[in-house]
Structure formats: C-alpha cells, structure tokens
Amino acid sequence: MSTPTWKNPIVQWVDHRLPIVTFLDHAIVKYPTPRNLNYWWNFGSLAGVILVVMIGTGIMLAMNYVPHTSMAFDSVERIMRDINYGWLIRYLHVNGGSMFFICVYIHIFRGMYYGSYKEPRELLWIIGIFIFLAMMATAFLGYVLPWGQMSFWGATVITNLFSVVPFFGEAIVQWLWGGFSVDNPTLNKFFSFHYLLPFIIFALVFIHLWALHTHKSSNPLGIEVQGDEDEIPFHPYYTAKDAYGFGVFLIVFLGFTFFAPNFFGEPDNYIEANPLVTPTHIVPEWYFLPFYAILRAVPDNFVDIWGILPVIIPAKTAGVIAMFASILVLLVLPWLDTSKVRSAKFRPTYFWLFWLFFIDTIILGYIGAKPAEGTFLLIGRLATAYYFLHLVIFMPLVGKYEKTKPLPDSISAAVTAGGSDAKEGS
C-alpha cells in the first residue's frame, strides 16, 4: 500500500515524526476488507464499543463506590438514588455487561460457523479465547462488588473451586480471600482486580486486532481474497455498515437499560450480603450458566465409575476440571477441526453439527439455572457429554470424512453479477 501524502501542514508535520495518521489511514480507512461480510461480522466491533462503554461507566461508578463490606451495598444504592444520573450510569454498566457477553458469544459462534479460526488465523482465535477468559474473570469480580446475597455466595462458591488445585489449593483460596472466608479483604482485592482487568482486556483487544490486520478478515465464503476485485476499503463501506449495526444494537441495549434494567439480574442481589443466610439457589449470572451446568454435571461417584486416579481426582475436582476444560478446549479448536473447507456453507454435515452444538449450549444454559437434581441433572450430564463429544470427537472425524460442496472460484465471482450469493454483502 502506498504511503499517502497529507496536504494539511500540521498533519504532515505530525505524521512525519509519528506516522499515526498514516497508521489510521491503513487500519480503518483504506484497510482492505472482503466485500461479502454479512451482518454477523458486526459483532466484533460492537464488542469493542461496549468495552469502551464499560470502562467509561465503570470509572464513573468507581468515583462513588466504597469497597467495604459495611458500606458497599449502601454506596451502590447512593449511586442509584442520590448521584446525578447515577442510576443511568449503573444500569448502563450492569446491562452493558450482559450486552458484552451477547456480542462476544455471537462473535464466537460466528467464528465457529464460518471456520474463521483456521489457518492462518489460529492465533487470532486463541487471543480471542484469552479475551473471553479475561471477560469472565472481570464479570465475576464485578458481580461481587455490590455486596448483595448473590455477590457474596457466588464469590464463596467460585473461590472455593480453587481449593481443588493439588497441594496449593488451600493456600490459593486463602490468598484470594485474604483471610479464612469471603470478607472485607476479598472485596478490596476484587475491586482492585475488577479495575485492572479491563485494561488488560483492552491490551488483548489490540493484539487481537494486530493479528486480524495481518491476515485480514475471513468471510462468509471462507475462501481467500484473490485480488482487488474481492476487496473494498473499510471506509466508507464497513464504517457505514458498522454504524447502522451500532444503531440497532443501541436500541436493544438502551431498551433494556431504560425499560427493563433488572431483566438480566437476580432479585437476590438487592438483598445485602449476609454470611449467615444461604440463598435457596445460588445462581450465577446468565452468561456463566452453561459452564455452571458443566461444573455440576460431573457425578459425585464419577471416580468410582471410571476408577481412575481416585486419590488425586476427587469428584469435585473432576467437575472443576470439566468446567475449565470446556473453555480451554476451544484453544485447540483450530487443530481439532481437520476440514480444509472453512465455511459451514460448504460443509453439509458440519452445518447440522454446528446447530446441534449451538442448541446444546442453550440447553446447558437452561440447565445451569435449574437445581442440579432429577431430570435436570440427567439432561445436564447428557448435554455436557455432547459438548465434549462435538469438539473432541466429531470435529476431527467430520473434517476427515465429510464430502464438501464445491467452493466458488472467487469472492467476486460468487457475490456479483447475479450470483446466488449476490445478497451476501448487502
């Protein structure tokens, strides 16, 4: 790409010393983008926007929040009642969290459907999974801060998971707590980490974008860009498309914020934390439910059934391992998927497997909100088994044996001149 010359003398002066204008010109103006990206490709930039919203509202909330067990709950209520537009800032932050996860989940499923993680974009995907992990940690820490009943008991359940680490488990949990139970030192520590992690996410997002801009966006056809006729400059085409998507997104986001701000929340968190009263059902936020279901799916007698390493792996440990494995296995997805063809559009068998997997995660989410007993537990176990079956067994096998449909010659051939996919980019 040629280096542009700038007419404005100030721009010229700055750019000669720090080529930031040229950089931006390359990265978001002339940046060549496949011409056929559909609306599922909007969710990456939406997630980026919501991250900024979260940091902005979060900084404002931190100005009035008090990280002390005896004042945290009341300080949040003071924000809601006495700070000018405090209710708006807090509800934006609370619902923004849910919106962030909705965008990122759609973004991840889009990557799975279109095989975006495949060579040469494996690292791009892996960095994305790390962003997802950092988001989960941040969301969990943030949920503890208002010091409601779910904050306290959620923190107790989740921090206890680390007790299964061999040899160091107890030490790690006591370090997390800063004592012998979830208490004021825990709250202080969590507030500090909750403020730190978003900036780490921000840095990871830049690395994610760096990797993205190295090999550019994938596309719904999953075939490589072959020439200029397959690409269009990011601006004005995708700036316009992203802006429209952003408008629709804002209607949904602000719709919840203004008209159903507690839709995603648990009523129990409007009861101040009480270490002496355990809620009937401890339920995490909705975006953790599939993983919560996996955690609880492992039977107590798991070890007896399988008879493996009974000393080192007690049942609780197996559940925790299953939960972490369910996320970490995504890191190796680029190698579990053996298919040469990226897009599910040309993979008739994988197409159905993808949707089964999607439904499976929805079922897991549903089960995660239910008490772990009876039919719910059984369904949870089957869905957990299928989750791993899909990723570890089906993905490699299908890639090997599936008969894929013929790929189009090029993006432009497929999407222009009345081709069957002509509407793909509109």
Partner: protein, 265 residues
C-alpha cells in the same frame, strides 16, 4: 430463505433461553403459589407514579408497616420528591427522634440516655428498631426485613407483595404449623412470622378512598415500588425520548449504508 429461517430460529432460541433462565427461580421455589398479575401505573413504556396512590401507600406504610419494618435507604426529603408538601415532610420528620450527636461537652449520652433532637428533612427515615437483634427480640425471633428495595429484591416483586399481603388464609387441614407462625401460600414454605397486617378500614384515607385490604395492599405496594425505584418515572420518560431518537437515527444510518453500498452492485 433458509438462512433467514435460521436467523429467526437463532433469535427465538436466544430469547427462549433467556426467558427460561429468567422464569427458573420461580419454579425452583417449589410449591409456592403463583401471584396474580395486578395492574401497576408504573408498568410499560410510559409507566408513571400515581402521586395520590403513593401518598395513600405512605400512609399505610407509616401507620401499619412502620411499626416493624424499616425503609432505611430513604430520607425524609425523598417524601417531598414523592409528592408530599415541604411543610408536611417537615412535620413528619419532626415527629421522629434522631441522635443529636455530641453536645458542647462532647457527650452523646446524658445519664445513659441518648441525646436526641427532632428529625429534619435531611435525616434518614428512622427505623423502628435500633438494630437487627432488637428487632428479633421484639418479634419472637423473626427479623422484619427492610422494605426499601423489596419490590426489586423478590421475583415478580410488586405482584408478589400484593399477593402476600392479601393472601392470608387458614392453614389447610393436615398442614403442620409451627408456633407463632401464620399460613400464607405465597410465602416460601407457606409459613410466615408476620401476622396478617391489613384489615378493612385499617387506615382512614384522607382522600376518601375506601380502605379495603386489596386497596391498601395495592397502595402500599405502589409506595414500595417508588421506594425501590424512585428514578423509574424519569428513567422511562428519558427512555422514550432516547428510543424515538435512536429509531430515527438508525433509519438514517440504514439509508446511508444503502446509499454507500449501492455503488457496489
């Protein structure tokens, strides 16, 4: 076409998933009776506070509930925002006794008695008991919960409160009641320490409204909706304006997008 169907299915399932998750705690609570839905002026996109109803609700709260239940997050000044006149608020506040703080000699107590002064609008509404232990001691071991956030702190809060307040019944035969408990099918476990608080003509409304149990339950619940979400009216009003703007703005953005992309086809 098939793609569109899939998109619709995706959104529907996402919706169904979230709705399923939302409804779950209600079902998880087991054999609790389901509260009937009432009409609240605060419902819907254009929800608002009926100031007269809030005043009646405050009357029910202050004459009946306040003997055991606090609204510790509210200040007397909030009652003016609710619709009471400044003079009324002053009078109500002055009836309460609050700690006066140290006097010239630095003492907060006089012969072991707390030095008090009449309440002011800037004081928090005084709770009936000094602390949880005192509250339990006065209520046979049961703790009357604070009501400031009650409608937000229970599933389907407003309807639940109304159902609870109007739902007292004789225990069905064979139902084993514990000592000092009352039967109420809407309460988890169907046994509640609080005795039936409302009875017809339990208060005398200044505006002439007939004080039936149902009316008082509705009024006090409306008051508690306000207490939990005093910003509700402002929030919804602002929301309507923001939505109108966004719909027009997004339509424009769509037009721009169409215009820009038209060159490509």
């Amino acid at each position: 076409m098939f793609k569109k169907i899939l998109i619709v299915a995706f959104v529907t399932m996402l919706g169904a998933g979230i709705t399923g998750i939302k409804s779950s705690p209600v079902q998880a609570a087991g054999d609790v009776a389901h509260p009937a839905s009432q009409e609240w002026t605060t419902d819907g996109l254009f929800g608002f506070f009926d100031r007269k109803q809030l005043k009646r609700g405050w009357q029910v709260y202050s004459e009946i509930c306040a003997s055991c239940h606090s609204v510790r997050l509210l200040f007397y000044r909030n009652l003016q925002e609710m619709g009471l006149a400044a003079e009324e608020v002053k009078k109500i506040a002055a009836e309460a006794e609050v700690a006066a703080g140290p006097n010239e000699d630095g003492e907060t107590h006089n012969d072991g008695e707390l030095i008090v002064r009449p309440g002011k609008a800037f004081d928090k509404i005084v709770s009936p008991y000094p602390n949880d232990l005192a509250a339990r001691a006065a209520n046979a071991g049961a703790l009357p919960p604070d009501l400031s956030l009650m409608t937000k702190a229970r599933v389907n809060g407003a309807n639940y409160l109304h159902a609870l307040l109007t739902g007292y019944k004789d225990a069905p035969s064979g139902f084993k009641m514990s000592e000092d408990m009352n039967y109420n099918p809407y309460f988890p476990g169907s046994q509640i320490a609080m005795g039936e608080p409302l009875s017809d003509e339990g208060v005398e409304y200044a505006d002439g409204t007939k004080a039936t149990v149902d009316q008082m339950a509705k009024d006090v619940t409306a008051f508690l909706i306000w207490a939990a979400e005093p910003e509700l009216e402002d929030r919804k009003r602002m929301g309507v304006k923001v939505m109108l703007f966004l719909i027009i703005f997004t339509a424009l953005l769509y037009a721009v997008k169409r215009q820009v992309w038209a060159k490509l086809h």
